[in-house]
Amino acid sequence: MVDVNKLREKAKEVVSRDDVRLLIGYRPGTYGFRARPAFVLGPDEVDELIFTPACVNNLASYITLEEKLPVPRGEEPDLRKVAVMVKGCDSRALVQQMEEKAYDRDRILVLGIPCKGVVDMAKVEARFPNVLERGEIALEGDKFVLSFDGTREEVAREELVADKCLRCRYPTPLVYDELLDEAVERFADDDYSDVSELEKRSAADKWAYWEEKFSRCIRCYSCRNVCPMCYCEDCVLDRLQPQWMRRSVDISENTAYHISRAYHLAGRCIQCGECQRVCPVDIPLMELNRKFYKDVEELYDYEPGTSVENPPLLSTFKVDDREDFIL
């Protein structure tokens, strides 16, 4: 795990630089085990920064989320870098954003954190409910050590770790300026067993499964807002002319929403699992994204967010792409 003193020292050094405007990192939350994003503007603010397995947020989202206000006349735009702390999975979001030319590499400064897995907060809170005092989580060997209210509990890694970490292919960031710890070897792989299992069911069965999930959706758009790849300035959902998806909450419009959200991430989703994490009604959104991820890998041998040199999947083609489905 990352040494917290080293992390703060490095953060201090980074935010003190003249060409860095802001550092985005993690700090402890208000209660329980949660961590929250921290926006550090100066060297005197670094003392709260942490990195623990509770740091689940994908901070890559904030780079594109930041509103670009018009620059007042006579003023120069602030072109200083944004420094961001990223885990392996989050770094792929940066790569994919740069692959799509959302911003240039020299606009960001990446502090990479090799990561052996973060917790799933839902699992933690199911196991240790009502922890109101600030608690801490650390990963020691293959156990999570949770300390809270003067007690210390050890739990096996498999019981609390987020599902995405069980199939993480890139634990070490793929893009970084500085690595805050030693690189971690790949320790897991993805066999898409969940997707292929659902694929094998009959059409009626599949629809029954998804109908139940989609009918729960309350259209809060959290999944869109948190997604590091959903950074269009003019989102198709907000458009009224033409209005592709009506705002009513019914099965038809909900399905339309989930189709278009998932399709917009086809060949772009980098499997950070943020959408599913923030969903208030527990729709398994990653199962939608992973279907595209699997197809894209199998049909076009393309893995999103792995190389800045790759052109985006759907803006290229090969003459000999598969076409056995065409009449």
Partner: protein
């Protein structure tokens, strides 16, 4: 399905202006008889067809959707149909994953001289949709207040 034997599906077809639309036109001028379930929408290229079109057609009461363009290599805009092919393949697999039968969303290459092929394509699509019955997964329903 026996109870669907008199079911007449609505098929929305997006045809590219340069090949498939002309192909369908040729089928008409040659007086080739083909099922009348298809409603043609002319687009300038199969690459113009946004996956949202497909989704929206199914929402608004189409039982099947057909996208048809020029054969690979024949695109009037050089590459539009190659892009369409990639997009459509992903869309089709995804809709199948959600439980929409794969017979409902089809793609074909029909050139301007292939009036006879157009007939075969339409027959195949209509029969496929008749087999799976009316679209009832996520059709937009009229609310009775």
């Amino acid at each position: 399905m026996a109870e669907n034997s008199d079911f007449e599906p609505n098929i929305v077809a997006f045809l590219c202006n340069w090949c498939s639309y002309a192909g369908a036109d040729l089928a008409g001028t040659s007086r080739i008889q083909y099922p009348s379930n298809v409603r043609v929408i002319r687009v300038m290229c199969s690459g113009r067809v946004n996956p949202l079109f497909v989704m929206n057609a199914l929402q608004q009461g189409a039982d099947g959707v057909l996208i048809s363009g020029c054969h690979p290599g024949d695109c009037h805009y050089m590459q539009g149909n190659y892009y369409a092919r990639r997009r459509f393949n992903l869309m089709r697999n995804f809709l199948e994953y959600l439980g929409v039968e794969p017979q409902r969303v089809r793609m074909s290459w029909v050139s301007a001289s292939e009036g006879a092929k157009w007939k075969e394509v339409i027959e195949e699509v209509v029969n496929g949709v008749k087999e799976v019955g009316p679209m009832d997964q996520f059709k937009r329903r009229q609310l009775n207040w």
